[in-house]
Symmetry: C2
Subunit: 320 residues, 2 copies
């Protein structure tokens, strides 16, 4: 829920004049999205999203993100594709910030998750992973194993403010993951943030994947584990095996998942849970007073982590 | 900047099915607007705004606001018009809140005000006032003279936190306004909140007036004074007489302003400044920690008030 940067009429007009999309007819800040400033823009040629990249996205990563979206869109993945201005560039500058215009996707993100959503997502994720194999840029995951302990250290002293004993739980989990994290699994392009608010549906059909600003090269099964965590736990934090089954089997119909990946799923799912637990913990402890964006409760991901800690075998996720 | 109420897919679908606008293709919370929850909704029939009315709007006032918009739109004023559902009703309920769908207006609100904007606004406001004469419902202004002292009393003790001496300045101004507020001036439908973010332009032309949720019956010149305060002072709080001249002369071309109204303009402008100074002061002192909406600085309106206090004659506003 965030419009951080207000764009003046003059700046907008000058910026849009460099694209072949006609004059702007309306321009409204979108409340969703927490990292960047997003405007829904209607021009004589249709609807577009204009994004200004705020502090949390590193400018040097933007060519990777924008090129990836363009590559995936061309490969038939339903994701926004950046427009090129007359100078050929997709990444430009507006109000002193990196900025881009991308195509608009119809659809709404699901507020209530049904098993059919999970099946659709499994299919779309596998197709993204398969298509991504042809993309020739690479970006390491800035929020994987090596990053977790330094991130934890920044919150360690105050973690018990959230829940007594939390620091000890996190420290032990880091020990476990550092000792057991797989070294060799199939890698490729991961979205790495496919939460429901980044996935659009029209009726029962998936119509769009958005927000590629955490995309990176990492274990593909890690991306699937992020989705499992984000889509297959209920509001009371119980695991819904029906949803997981639908997601996993739909995914496996589109991409062959190796035995090694399946065997690694429990530890990978723990890591995927810890990653969001650590960033939420940090944001919870460090969000400025009066911030526009309300931080998410880290305890939700503690509960998910604890579920995975007691999983004895991958079959418990509903894998056949 | 506010989406207070999240609408589930099921609720949205059921709500929209009662209108003749086709299926929903996209649905995005709008960051602008501070009183209600607004979604920009694309359906098979076009773009619409879906509004859920939050606490600050009294449900009993909604028929006045919605009927007024419909009346004015039919009279050719460029304002949103409420859609009627199949049951004939424009005011309905969604997520336990009063809700309505209104037509979408193209245009952007001007972030930087030019004199041409002021001229366009003067014309549109006079037309609104003239058209409003035929509207047969009435709503007293809840934020006029009688309301100001009780409102001040709620902030009086802490007013000096904003600026030492502020409570004394406000108390004296209330004394002055209570002694000098006119009793008889032409009354009619006032928008009563025509700040730049409620006025859309396409290029140089005014294309829309929105947000009628402070509309009321009051002195028409009071509505004009609100606009003078909101549009004709620069960011450094200096008065721009060129803008005021353009606004006032454009207004007077469309509606005859009486001698009494002109003579009253300085005191009315003081009242119009005090009204926003008092609500901003209250909001500044009482906004909850971490609120989504950042309160506006009350001192801007103190400076505007102090300008009007030293006006010796209406001619100083640029009236011929």
């Amino acid at each position: 829920m965030a419009v951080y940067t207000e764009v003046s009429d003059e700046d907008l007009e000058a910026f849009v004049a460099d694209y072949d999309i006609g004059a702007v007819l309306s321009f409204k800040g979108i409340a969703e999205g927490v990292e960047n400033t997003n405007y829904l823009m209607q021009t004589e040629q249709g609807q577009f999203i204009l994004t200004l990249y705020e502090k949390r996205v590193l400018p040097q990563d933007l060519p990777y993100f924008l090129n990836l979206m363009e590559f995936l869109a061309e490969a038939g993945i339903p994701c926004p594709t950046p427009l090129h201005a007359e100078d050929g560039k997709a990444l430009r500058e507006l109000c002193g910030r990196p900025a881009a215009i991308v195509t608009f996707l119809n659809g709404m993100w699901p507020k209530k998750i049904h098993a059919t959503h999970c099946a659709e997502l499994g299919t779309a994720l596998a197709r993204l992973h398969t298509a991504g194999a042809g993309f020739d840029m690479s970006r390491p995951n800035g929020l994987t194993l090596e990053a977790w302990r330094p991130l934890f250290n920044e919150s360690a002293e105050r973690a018990d403010e959230i829940l007594p004993g939390l620091a000890e739980i996190l420290s032990r989990e880091l020990d476990y993951l550092e000792a057991n994290w797989p070294e060799r699994l199939p890698v490729g392009i991961c979205h790495a943030d496919l939460f429901p608010d980044n996935v659009f549906f029209l009726g029962q059909s998936l119509s769009g994947l958005i927000d590629f600003y955490f995309a990176c090269n990492d274990f593909l099964i890690y991306d699937l584990a992020i989705c499992l965590n984000a889509w297959c736990f209920e509001r009371d934090n119980s695991f819904n095996i029906t949803k997981a089954k639908r997601m996993l089997s739909a995914y496996r119909k589109e991409r062959d998942v190796s035995e090694a990946e399946i065997a690694a799923l429990p530890v990978i799912a723990r890591g995927a849970a810890l990653r969001f637990l650590l960033t939420r913990l940090y944001d919870w402890l460090n969000h400025p007073e009066g911030a526009l964006v309300k931080p998410k409760d880290p305890r939700e991901y503690l509960s998910i982590l604890q579920f995975h800690q007691q999983v004895a075998a991958p079959g418990e996720y509903g894998l056949d």
